[in-house]
Subunit: 127 residues, 2 copies
Amino acid sequence: MMIRIEPDSDIAIYTQLTNQIIEGIAKGDIKPGDSLPSVRAFAADLGVNMHTVNKSYHELEKKGIIRIVPKSGAIINIQNGYDNELYTRLREGMKPQIAEAIVFGMSEKDIQNLVKSVVDEFKKSID
Amino acid sequence: MMIRIEPDSDIAIYTQLTNQIIEGIAKGDIKPGDSLPSVRAFAADLGVNMHTVNKSYHELEKKGIIRIVPKSGAIINIQNGYDNELYTRLREGMKPQIAEAIVFGMSEKDIQNLVKSVVDEFKKSID
DNA sequence: ACTTTGTTCTATGAAAACTAGAACAAGGCT
DNA sequence: AGCCTTGTTCTAGTTTTCATAGAACAAAGT
């Protein structure tokens, strides 16, 4: 899987990494059961510090997306389906963008089309 | 308009303020032409520093949502409709949430329902 | 005139992010 | 058994961001 870190982004490196791993799973580039590189190997590959990768892995584990097996590795493991906590998390995360879309005059259909275009970008390349 | 700042949030205060002002416009609580409080008055009201409010105002101006008139005030002024820059901004902002939704098994319809619930929350209280 | 406006400047404290190096115990492999 | 790799934990340092504070300015509003 291809990861691209932008050091000058206003988004923290470990967050960039977390997001891109999630997007990689959404696209199907990585599947449940697959292993992520070791924190050291990944860090060397990306040109960042080991602890930065480690922080990202723990963020993914907290979200219930990977399982970290001490002395072994990190395996993609999606925890049980979507519950209220996930719903709330996603809602709060999308709120600012949706509000901004409305402010700029986008209709609900416009917004849904925008969302669909993002969904399609992920789903088109599955399998 | 009611603004609620959470000092212990992991979201910066000026970002919280920016988002809530945008949401206030989306809900119709504030309308184009309305003035925002002066940076000093708003800061005193919220219990934060003047510069923090100022930073939020400039973020809103950069987004094209308000017009800051030096020595006068900040007026809600939505710049011309949605262009490619806005589209890209919104897409990038929603990407992480949509990817996470897909990862957890949500269908496109599920995601659209979630989006609709957020849109409705804003639009229900217009006028 | 007087107040209020946004702006600009310097300064400081606190927290977050990132890097660095070292050490540890345990799993995997030969 | 021996060796390498694993994630983990610890201390340490730097840089950046965020938020605060105070002062001063020129100009708009009253």
